[in-house]
């Protein structure tokens, strides 16, 4: 049985340290943007959240493919947690994105930002992951269908990004996201540190969640072993029915 708690302390400390340094850089080091002024600072939390969420979805797809290849349930649970975490980071992206839109353009939602729009589409898709899972009762089939979904939806993420970017390109020249090409050095450094910090946070939380789930399953398994099958109360809604 894999233990997820090992290395968790080091990982979480690294995440905390990196995010602290990133915040310091954002507010004390990074220069003020000439276009948007102080508001641009939201960029350093919004875009790393977005990138991490999207990578998390793709990561979930890869884990789902591993389940389909090996049939080992642990890959399915890893895939579920990866997608769950990515959804949460995605909500954070949308919230910070709307705040940025309101501050920059005066509206809570703008169609002109490709990141926000393609993000909304991806979130709409992955929002169906849990309803899909919990509408299938047989655990093995649930894992299999969820993994198929994770693979297809994970492949969808880059394609969707391309399509939406192509659709929005010539509508509004000014977009909320700064393209990587023309970021001045100090901004780029701040951005990279933020990105690493948020990515570490994602990994920490993923491991944390896996540890919690794994512990609970082991307690149930112990109970089953010591006291017999019928002393275990069946779980109502769970991605790891056991």
């Amino acid at each position: 049985m894999t233990t997820y708690g090992r290395g968790l302390r080091g990982l979480s400390l690294a995440a905390a340290a990196t995010i602290t340094v990133a915040l310091a850089l954002v507010f004390f080091y990074a220069p003020l943007d000439t276009d948007q002024g102080f508001i641009q600072k939201i960029f350093y939390i919004h875009v790393p959240l977005a990138i991490t969420a999207l990578c998390g979805f793709v990561f979930g797809g890869v884990l789902g493919a591993m389940y389909l290849r090996t049939g080992d349930r642990k890959w399915d649970i890893r895939s579920y947690v990866a997608i769950h975490m990515a959804l949460i980071f995605g909500v954070g992206t949308l919230l910070t994105g709307t705040i940025w839109a309101k501050a920059s353009w005066g509206h809570w939602w703008v169609w002109s930002d490709p990141t926000l729009t393609s993000f909304l589409i991806v979130m709409l898709l992955f929002a169906t992951y849990q309803p899909l899972r919990f509408s299938i009762e047989d655990p093995e089939r649930q894992s299999r269908y969820a993994s198929v979904f994770a693979v297809v939806a994970g492949a969808f993420v880059p394609l969707n990004f391309i399509a939406v970017r192509a659709a929005q390109q010539y509508v509004h020249p000014r977009v909320l996201t700064l393209t990587g090409g023309n970021l001045p050095g100090s901004m780029r450094l701040t951005f990279l540190v933020s990105l690493v910090g948020i990515a570490l946070l994602y990994t920490t939380l993923w491991k944390y969640e896996m540890a919690a789930k794994s512990t609970r399953m082991q307690v149930r398994a112990l109970r089953r072993a010591l006291l017999g099958e019928d002393s275990v109360v069946p779980l109502k809604r769970s991605a790891a029915p056991s």
Partner: protein, 223 residues
């Protein structure tokens, strides 16, 4: 290949004899055009607006067909029979997707002229070859994703809900491609060839998802 043809023939024969799905799709499309006339309060539309209306109408008519795609298999044990037969399982995907594609083609043969008659301002003539190309690529996307999503949905409890809510976001890039590809074609003095960028995106989408669906379909059929 023979398996594909057999299953395909079965589905087409069933539809020809029963004649339920296709008339419903066609009727739905035409009624939707009428609704748009009243909803938009316009006699004619053109350009990007027309392309959007046409795409949305075709999409929702397709949803009707998609919801019913695997119902017979599920209720009458077709899945089990197929699993027992010594055939390549992905053949079921190819057969069903082809059937759905053909349904969509028939739908469009009737719905697009109806659209030209009822709502479209400019004449269809010069736009037709480009429009056929864009719609064909879009139909492939609808057929592939529709079959995949229908196969997933038919095994869940909330059958006709899960299909659309998974399928619609997945189809969005293809729908964007269809609408933006057709937009310049349906404009008042529009071009007769669709913008290359959108044709490329549609083609890329079709290839990626056809291959992906083919790869994962096996896992959906296991018992």
């Amino acid at each position: 290949m023979r398996t594909v043809m057999t299953v395909l023939r079965k589905d087409l024969l069933l539809e020809l004899r029963g004649f339920e799905t296709l008339p419903a799709m066609i009727l739905f499309a035409i009624v939707t055009f009428v609704i748009f006339h009243f909803g938009l309060n316009r006699d004619t539309i053109d350009g990007q607006l027309a392309a959007g209306v046409l795409t949305v109408t075709l999409l929702f008519a397709a949803m009707l067909g998609i919801n019913r795609l695997f119902v017979a298999e599920r209720e009458q044990g077709g899945f089990d029979a197929f699993l027992l037969a010594p055939v390549d399982r992905s053949a079921l995907l190819v057969a069903k997707a082809t059937a759905l594609f053909l349904f969509l083609v028939v739908l469009e043969v009737i719905a697009v002229p109806a659209f030209g008659l009822l709502l479209l301002g400019p004449s269809l003539g010069h736009a037709l070859p480009g429009l056929i190309a864009v719609l064909a690529l879009g139909d492939v996307a609808l057929a592939v994703i529709g079959t995949l999503v229908s196969a997933i949905a038919v095994q869940t409890r909330a059958r006709d809900l899960i299909g659309p809510i998974i399928g619609l976001p997945l189809l969005l890039p293809a729908l964007i491609g269809m609408a933006r590809g057709a937009g310049p074609l349906l404009a008042a003095h529009g071009s007769s060839s669709p913008p290359g960028r959108w044709v490329a995106i549609l083609a890329l989408y079709d290839v990626v998802f056809a291959l992906l669906s083919y790869a994962v379909f096996d896992f959906l059929l296991e018992d």
